[in-house]
Structures are given as C-alpha cells and as structure tokens.
C-alpha cells in the first residue's frame, strides 16, 4: 500500500524497481528465491534447496513449483516437484535430462537467484490416516519423497509401502535415506525394483503387485513416473475396480510428433508472427518469437497457458483433436497450428 502510494515519486516505474537495486528478493511482482544449498544425489541428480522471497506460500507435500532460470540470456521455465517435506524451506531434486534440468544440475551454485512461481498441484496426502501405497519410478519419486518425509517421522500411525523402480541400485534416488527411515519407523516399508536385473513390474496380471504388496487393493495409492507406468497402473486399478483409490502425477505428456499440421501463428496483441511445424506447440512458437506467453506445467495439465483463439484451427497434440471455435481458450502447451492461426495474446 505504502509502496503503491510512493509510486508518485517513481512513475512510470514502481518503487520496487528501485528497492530491487538493494535487495533482489524484495519484489513480490516477480517471485524469486536464493539457492541455499546444492547437494549431489545419485547418478547426476542434485537437490537444490532455496529460500523463497516475498509472494511464496508454504508448500504441501506432493506439490510442484515452476522454476525459471536464464540460459544464454533467455528465461526458461519448467515445473519441478518439491522433494522437501512440508513445513521446511522448499527444495527440488533434478535429474540432468533436458536443457533446463541439465543447466540446473550443472550450473546452480549457492547464492544464485531462481525465478519462482508459488507451489501448486493436487497430488496430495489424504486428509485422514489411511494405509498408503506409493508406486514410483526414476525421478518420479520426488513428490512422493516429500510425502514420506512429511508423514513418516511425524505420524506413529503411518502405514506406507513404497515400491520404487530404478535401473540399478546406484540409480535409485534417496536410497540411503529411505533405508534409514524404514529402519527407524515401522510405518514405512520400502521395496526397490531394479529394472536392469529384474525387469519392469508386470502390470498385465496382478501377480507382481500381489507379491510386492498383497493388500494393494485396500490402500490409497499414488503413482508417479514415466507415462508408461502411469498408464499401466491406471489400467490395473481400473480393471480391479479400485480406480478411485489411485492418484496419478504426470511428469511428461506424450505428444504426437508428426501431426501433419503446422502453419503461421499470429500473436495479435504482441504484434508478432511465427511459423510453426506440426510438432511445435503454439507455446514454443510464441516464446521463440519473443511473445510473453502465459504458461505453467507445459504438459497440458494445469491450464495456466490458456489463450483465446481468435481465428483458425489448432490441433491437440495429445489426441489429434482439432479446435476452431472463435474465443475458445486454447492450451498452447499441447496445441499446434493447422494453417494460419490468430491468438489473442
């Protein structure tokens, strides 16, 4: 309030633009955080803990946050699950896959400033005590780790079974910490599945799962990992009529790579244009053209990227469906143009 009033002294700048000369975290208009620790994990992963500035709110176990970094002068955003327990400063655990993750793993130092968006997501622990089953693979363990760290040490009545798949023991994230937690707390049982030697869990019949966790049907289940695992698990829970008991967290979305679409994209408000092929999303095309595109999860879930369609036809790259209604809100992160498209952004 006082700051807004002070803008008569600074117009057209906001007083915060000047305060930022002194304290880069002072701006609530662009949430930022300072990296407080960078801890190496197994096989090329790191955990990056940070202290968020004004505008952040405490995360719940299982939530994710958007993290922005500048690579070659260009701001890039990705979503990362928070691996720290609820009630503590946030941390993300990143595996060096993809440009932004690689940059985070290789270049992050203590004291660096990250751009942030407040935590979000509804992959959350149940509100009342229930027996739980966590089914994870690879880096899909990160939100679940936050849940386990939050729940297990604090609740004597916790009953959690974690089945985590990794290629080899060396690739299994948080292996030592999980072993300690399981030894100290009766409420946690950890089973690792090393796919290089044991192969993947077979979901074509319940045999594998029955062996790993006989009472899986009566547990509230969480699954997080590669798309195949999510699809297989969803099918399994569906087939056994316990679909309601399963919560799914997607990390990636399979997009059609050759949708046969493509075309010119006109960003009306920004007065910019781009040409995109059939596998380039409207979001990517806009960003490359220098348009400030709203965006969030970048995989068609959070709907932060919605932009009104002014004219033209677009294709949903997940399903191949087309949309052409004027004024319809388009998810730019999973849509490609079919011919010339006008967007109200």
């Amino acid at each position: 309030m006082a700051l807004s009033a002070a803008s008569v002294f600074t117009a057209p700048r906001h007083p915060q633009d000047f305060l930022q000369l002194v304290n880069p975290l002072s701006s609530a208009r662009q949430l930022r955080g300072v990296v407080t620790s960078v801890t190496p994990e197994c096989s090329g992963s790191v955990t990056i803990a940070f202290r968020p500035g004004r505008g952040w709110h405490a995360h719940e176990a299982g939530q994710y946050a958007r993290i922005g970094v500048e690579i070659d002068g260009v701001r890039q955003w990705r979503s990362y699950s928070l691996s720290a327990p609820a009630g503590q400063d946030p941390a993300i655990t990143v595996t060096a896959v993809g440009r932004v993750s690689r940059h985070l793993v290789e270049s992050t130092r203590v004291g660096d400033v990250l751009f942030l968006a407040p935590p979000q997501g509804d992959f959350l622990l149940p509100t009342g005590p229930r027996p739980l089953l966590m089914l994870t693979a690879g880096s899909g363990i990160t939100p679940v780790m936050s849940m386990i760290r939050t729940l297990v040490p604090r609740r004597p009545d916790a009953d959690v079974v974690l089945i985590h798949s990794a290629r080899t023991p060396q690739d299994a994230l948080f292996r030592a910490e999980l072993a300690t937690l399981a030894a100290d707390h009766d409420g946690l049982h950890v089973a690792h599945r090393y796919t290089a030697t044991d192969g993947r869990i077979d979901f074509t019949s319940p045999a594998d799962l029955d062996a790993l966790c006989p009472d899986w049907r009566s547990r509230k289940a969480y699954v997080c990992g590669p798309a195949e695992l999510l699809d297989d698990a969803s099918q399994m829970w569906h087939d056994h009529h316990v679909a309601d008991a399963l919560s799914v967290e997607r990390f990636e979305t399979a997009l059609l790579t050759d949708a046969g679409a493509g075309g010119r994209v006109v960003f009306e408000k920004s007065d910019k244009e781009a040409v995109a092929d059939g596998s380039t999303t409207l979001l990517e095309a806009g960003e490359d053209a220098g348009v400030l595109m709203p965006h969030g999860c970048r995989m068609g879930i959070c709907r932060s990227c919605l932009v009104p369609l002014r004219a033209g036809q677009i294709k949903d790259l997940r399903t191949g469906e087309t949309h052409a209604d004027e004024g319809e809100l388009i998810q730019t992160c999973i849509s490609a143009p079919c011919g010339t498209v006008h967007l109200d952004v």
Binding site: A11, P12, D17, F18, Q30, G73, K272, G290, L292
Partner: protein
C-alpha cells in the same frame, strides 16, 4: 521505384533486380548472425544499463534534496538529465521496439514497458513502430517526415506557413516530449476530421493522464519533498532543466536520423509491391548515422546507428556497432551512399535543411546547398561480377 527519379540524381539507377535481391539476402544473413549469437552478455548489457540509469536517477534525486547547496544542484541536475536521456533512448525506445523481447523477461518487454515521457507507450509504439518504421521516408505516409508541421523535402508542397518552421522547430525541440505526445495522438489528423472521435477521446485521456503522472512526479512531489530541506525551488528548476535537456537532446538525435542532406525520400506509389530487398534499400537510403564516441552512441540510444537500426529495428541496440562496418562495406560494394557525419555536422545539416526548405523550391535552390551526393562507384556489384571480363 522511388521519388528519386525526379531529383538531380538517382542513387539506385545502377542496381538490377538481381542486385537488389542479393542485397536483401546479404542483409538477412547479417541479421541472422546477430540473432544466432544473442545471449548472456547482451542480457547482462541491458540489465547493466537499466541498473545504472536507476542508480543514477535515485542518486541524483537524493542529491537534489540538498540542492540548496549549489554543487549538489549542479551535479544533481546533470545526473538527472543523463538519467532521463538514458531512460528514453537506450532503454525506453529500444525496449519498446522489442529489441529485448527474446529474453522473455516480462519486466524488460515491449508489451509491458512504460517510459518517462509524455507519450504513453502504446500510442508511441503504434505511430513509431508501425507507421514510421514501415513507411520510412515515404512522402504522405511517414508523418515523421517533418512531423506534419514542417517541410523537410523538396517534394513536400510549399506553403507560406512554412516560413516560420525554423522557429517552430526550435519550440518543438524545447517541448519535444509533448510534441511527440501530440503527434502520437494524431492531433493534426483529428483537427482535419480524419480521426475517429471515440478513438481520439480514449487516446487523449491516456495522454492527459500520462502527462499528469509525469508532471506530478517532476514538478510537484519531488519539489514538495525538497521543501523539508529548503531545496524546493532548486529541485523544481533541476527537474525542468533535466526535461528540457533531454528534450533538446532527443530532438537533435531524431533530426539527425532522417533530415540531414543526402537522405532520400520516396513516393507513395514507389512502395507498392516492395520486396524485402527494396524495403532494405529504402531503409538504408532514408537514414543517416552519427559518428562519435561510445558514450555518445549510448546517449543516442544507438540511434547514431540509424541506418542499422532502420534495417533491423528489433536487434539489440548494443549490437549495431558491430554490424555497422558490414553494412558500410555492403554499401560500398553496391555503390550506395552511407550517410554519416559527426554530431555537430549532422545537426547543422538537418537544421540547414529545415531553414532552406522553409522557402519555396525556387528560392531554396538559390541557397548554397551542401552537396553530399557524390555518386558512389560500386566495387563489387553481383550483376557485374557475373559479366565475363574482356581478355
């Protein structure tokens, strides 16, 4: 293709269609090389300029609170003037051109930037980016050509009213930011009944609000704050001086961009069916550079590289210096004029034109006209390079 045919020379007569298209391709390549290499150091540059400007503004305004003491007044006034120049030119003008949009930083972006100037960003962007940069130096289309109040080309019709244009030009220079606001508002078009009333009313409200906001800051709240230190009168004077200084400076820079002798103009029909190569050619021939130190270049917002800026309006300004030699070399090879000169020379040349063309052509012709229109011999024209050489 141009209005040039009517003049005593035609600087593009020797170019074939093939040459012009080859010129276009070469310039596209120059642009691509910069786009490809944009990165961390460029981002650091604009952030450094912004930080410097804000620190300078804050420091100068703090100093002015002590302006009862004369040295503080002098240093504070100079600091505030430089800060306002930087804010309008190297930062505001260039950010609003979208030169830094590629960084995807919402705080340094053409769609979110507002500047310390009477003209609101969105109006300015329309009249400057869309009209002036598209119709550069096209008679009757580019209103920057004399801003609708002056005659700066022989092909603009003379009227006795133009006799006074040297005086107006000076008055316009002193109040340049308001001149720009009135111009972006298309005041002339409105009074001629050619502008939609509702649109005008909406825009006028924006301009009035913007002027009020800026004037409140400079002429009310900062002097009022300085009452506490007994420096109100001098703070008021310092703000006025800084705005005046900024106005005179920006006016001079803008005049140097398109008014100096040797810069060409074009007719409305000449741009019909213009190719990329033709467009580049018009931008090059319609602009003039200023030679000087690095500090001068930054103070002009790198508009001292007006030719490069008009060829590539959305490339980061800090890169114009590096491509200028390539553009100049290209001009030599294609036998095209590359108009440039020192700041005093270009300012004098532009003023000379404003004064000379206040007279009707037949009188103006009697005045001694500085000739800078020496035909340049092309050194490596593509169409001639292909011709077999005589044994």
């Amino acid at each position: 293709m141009t209005a040039l045919q009517k003049k005593d020379h035609n600087p593009v007569a020797h170019l074939t269609r093939e040459d012009i298209e080859s010129l276009g391709r070469e310039l596209d390549a120059v642009r691509a090389s910069v786009v490809e290499s944009r990165g961390t150091s460029d981002a650091a540059y604009i952030r450094r300029v912004i930080k410097t400007q804000r620190t300078l503004e804050l420091g100068s305004r703090a100093l002015l609170l002590a302006s009862r003491w004369k040295p503080a007044f002098v240093v504070g006034t100079i600091g505030l003037t430089v800060s306002k120049v930087l804010e309008n030119m190297e930062i505001g003008h260039n950010v609003m051109h979208g030169q830094w949009d590629w960084m995807r930083d919402p705080k340094i972006h053409s769609t979110t930037w507002e500047w310390d100037n009477a003209s609101p960003a969105d109006l300015w962007k329309h009249s400057h980016n869309e009209l002036h940069h598209t119709y550069t130096n096209v008679l009757g289309r580019d209103n920057d050509l004399g801003y609708g109040i002056m005659r700066v080309d022989e092909d603009q019709k003379w009227h006795p009213v133009y006799l006074g244009q040297p005086v107006w030009n000076f008055v316009n220079a002193c109040f340049f930011e308001y001149g720009i606001a009135a111009y972006d508002l298309e005041l002339g078009k409105y009074f001629a009944g050619r502008k939609d009333k509702a649109v005008f009313k909406r825009d006028a409200t924006k301009v009035v609000n913007k002027i009020r906001q800026q004037a409140t800051k400079d002429y009310v709240v900062h002097p009022a704050l300085a009452l506490l230190t007994g420096s109100a009168r001098r703070t008021l004077l310092a703000n006025y001086t800084a705005n005046l200084g900024r106005n005179l400076w920006t006016h001079s820079v803008i005049m140097c961009g398109h008014f100096p002798e040797g810069v060409e103009t074009f007719t409305k029909t000449s741009i019909d069916g213009e190719t990329r190569g033709d467009w580049y050619l018009r931008q090059m021939l319609g602009s003039a550079n200023i030679r000087g130190t690095k500090a001068m270049h930054i103070a002009t917002g790198n508009l001292s590289y007006q030719i490069e800026h008009h060829l590539f309006p959305d490339l980061p300004s800090n890169r114009y210096a590096e491509i200028a030699p390539q553009v100049r070399d290209l001009c030599e090879r294609y036998g095209l004029p590359y108009v440039t000169g020192s700041l005093p020379r270009q300012v004098a040349s532009a003023w000379g034109k404003v004064i000379r063309l206040s007279l009707p052509n037949h009188l103006a012709a009697r005045l001694k006209r500085p000739t800078r229109r020496t035909q340049v011999e092309p050194t490596a024209l593509p169409s001639r390079l292909r011709e077999p050489t005589a044994a």
